[in-house]
Assembly symmetry: D2
Homo-oligomer: 274 residues x 4
């Protein structure tokens, strides 16, 4: 195409101009990028999925702009494994290439686990929404794992006050945890969080249930009524007891079957300094 023929030898770097407004920018970068990624899977080693990605850096008060295309170049170069092992290198690369003190990354992705029905053992895959959030600022670094777990909850009040039956509904429990350390032996698995949440609800949800399984989970839920308040406390107790957890936030939300709104509860907690 003809316009490339007139390409000046040197295109000016507008982003690189000095800025006199005196305001540093906390985060500048790209959002809504999608990429195939590979994440760790406790049972199978690795799992292929698709990530939605936000990449950013801090911008000092005296620089006009960042070079947005470099975020994509860096991510493209690191393409593939996105895990607690590789994110620190990606964060460092972003700091170096973009000349920044602080860098941040957030990746959301569907994660799949094979689940067996409780009686017949029939298996199929269940999806969990997960998020990795990493940041590095000078010597400080933090890595947060987020997992959203669908569950079944049955209302303790409805069961108690009714002669028969009790309303149940689907709920979503979102757990975010920050580890005390980044060492491999301290890794908290997505699978562990799912287990803690499912133990805290009235019953797990499953992708595939045959009649004997449906009978089982129906009665399991009726035997274990839980408010959203109960769910966040039960999950919170399990997280607090685990020494690997430095901080957590647990949010449980019920899509109430007797209302057109949700009930929710949330606990945020930080481990006190030793």
């Amino acid at each position: 195409m003809s316009q490339t023929a007139t390409l000046p030898l040197e295109l000016s770097d507008v982003q690189g101009q000095a800025d006199k407004r005196g305001l540093a920018i906390d985060r500048v970068g790209v959002r809504g990028l999608a990429y195939p990624i590979t994440v760790l899977d406790r049972a199978k080693g690795k799992q292929e999925t698709v990530g939605r990605i936000t990449l950013s850096v801090g911008l000092p008060h005296d620089m006009r702009g960042t070079h947005m295309s470099r975020f994509i170049e860096i991510f493209e170069r690191h393409r593939g494994e996105m895990t607690v092992r590789t994110l620190p290198r990606l964060l460092d690369d972003m700091r170096e290439r973009l000349d920044a003190e602080a860098s941040q990354i957030e990746i959301s992705f569907p994660y799949f686990l094979e689940r067996s029905a409780p009686v017949t053992g029939s298996t199929a895959l269940l999806e969990y929404g997960c998020t990795f959030r990493g940041e590095r600022n000078g010597q400080h670094e933090a890595f947060t794992l987020g997992v959203e777990v669908p569950v079944s909850t049955l209302c303790p009040c409805s069961k108690e006050i009714s002669d028969y039956g009790a309303h149940s509904q689907r709920g979503y429990v979102s757990v975010e945890v920050r580890s005390t350390d980044f060492d491999d032996h301290d890794l908290i698995w997505i699978e562990e969080i799912i287990e803690w949440v499912e133990e805290s609800a009235s019953a797990p949800v499953y992708p595939l249930l045959k009649r004997p399984d449906e009978r089982h989970v129906t009665m399991q839920a009726y035997d274990n009524p839980r408010f959203v308040e109960d769910v966040v406390r039960e999950v919170g107790l399990r997280l607090r007891e685990d020494e690997r957890v430095a901080w957590f936030r647990v949010h449980a939300e019920n899509h109430e079957s007797i209302h057109n709104h949700s009930a929710f509860a949330e606990i945020e907690w930080e481990r006190p300094e030793a």
Copy 2:
């Protein structure tokens, strides 16, 4: 601002150019417009709400483009009441001002009804998602009303095969109806569709339930188990019996509390010519 000083007396009309590609366009217009609107309310006469609007016309094969700004001008002029009574005039205005044979409009809006709890009678508002769809093409005109009704459903299979309990969940039933006529006496009310749907589900949902009410709806749902298949059939029977209904589509979707996916059923029906 200085550029207006240089405004040419006549700005050329690029959209009005002739087109030689020989392809007529079925619909061209604007989407994602939001506006405060007034709709009919059976109990109170009128109700103020906010509409999301799509406006379009057909474009003949020999015109390059339509004049998008006129859609906004026309809608602004008709601003206010958006009802089965006013839409025909709006559709005609669009055809005239945009020189088109066919015109279409779609308005989605939240509609609120005061609902009383079944035992204590406590009242609060419940939201229903509604849609008006109107089109006019030469002498042909059609008006479709859509209402999405949240309900509670309790699984007949789960109740039958379990010693106690039964899983329930929130479901959404979407009904679209086209009337045989546009006369006022043939008007189908949003409120009527809500009643038909609620009678067809295990129990209605409510905005506000005190303990005696929660006890009531818990047992009501247990006494009236319904599959999505049952719900669409029950709604369909009521619609088919009503002579005002020329066509309908009913879609019921349960946010299953034992799965992380939905179960759905759908019936479309047209009244046979007399």
Copy 3:
């Protein structure tokens, strides 16, 4: 219905049970409630719209649950005006009725302003997404206003390096501000935030533009190229200079027309203690 005949005189209060798990809950309440509301309008006094509402309280470590239905009762009783003047009373009512130290409310709603085209003066309504966030905890109270303003941005780099043209796109600038005080004379208007943002972008967006207007905004944007970094700084300078602002966060996001992802920048700032 027959089951009400068997209603026990006293239904037990399961939520009111003592809890021994020793974990306080930061927020427990209802989400996804929708209600018609009235908000303040600088030009017209009041404006009717529809709000999406979250209501919550803190729950002490020794109480099992909160009484969710009371949130709806309280909101229903305060129904109508939702403004900086009425939210404090609503927050206090929630604390009292739900026996809580802390209460929180969040209301999101579309807000409409009549906008005149820059040359022809043609008017129509433009929608802005707004949010009120209020909380009260013991003697501490905070009120945050959020406004999302759509704008047009034209890329300074694209303009500088190209022989002609420059890519432009729609962007959204989200501003959250917390006031130093709740007195009426300190009220920051939605309309003021919109003005500050529009001055900071390449050009405002309009609901209705005739050809002379489109010519005007096309050249206005070309004359005022802005990166997202420029936008957040320009908005930030205006907010910092206003003594009423105690804290702000500005987030600008461009739906880049040359990519399928967004570019964004964000500044958070708190006024230093005097």
Copy 4:
């Protein structure tokens, strides 16, 4: 868990009951299922991605319900390749296992292509939203491919009436095509649709553009102004000329950078019988 000990030898089949309401159901099944899938990739042979799936069958007027769990069993068994080659077998399996005359499937997934910047040749992945829709009813079968292509459009009117500049924006062009035949040699590739759409817009969008590339696409768009009307016609002409295409719908929508609403155009076309 103890309740399984009491499992009756035979759990009754509530879904299998006879129905007397006399209403057949057009579609009954599951929605919102997510699964890792493999699709065909013209360059690499295969591509791993994640699909959102709807599976359904028709239900005769005299059967009360379908067996929802079988949808998951069947999909789980066919897990893996989801292509025009495998969907017919899946559709037939659904008909057989669920005792139905008609079966339908819809799978939506992100598809990734490596795109090279037009001047520097820098490469990265770009995401396209795709959908497969297949149905089989007795001897009739149909397969529809849907692709949503992000593009850049520059307004012909704005360019013509302004002394300099022209507003541009991101647009999305959704193409659905139905083939005349299911034979392999008639396969229409996702990649072909993307090419046709990109040729019809002002310029493609890219994941990664360095400065010389940004200069190129800026001028390319300015040299090729396009209304949404132009885009749907240009795409429509290409589709009509291709003998493999039996039916298409093209929808182009611009996220106008001078408004807060979209402009759109849509053409639906069916090849006349020979």
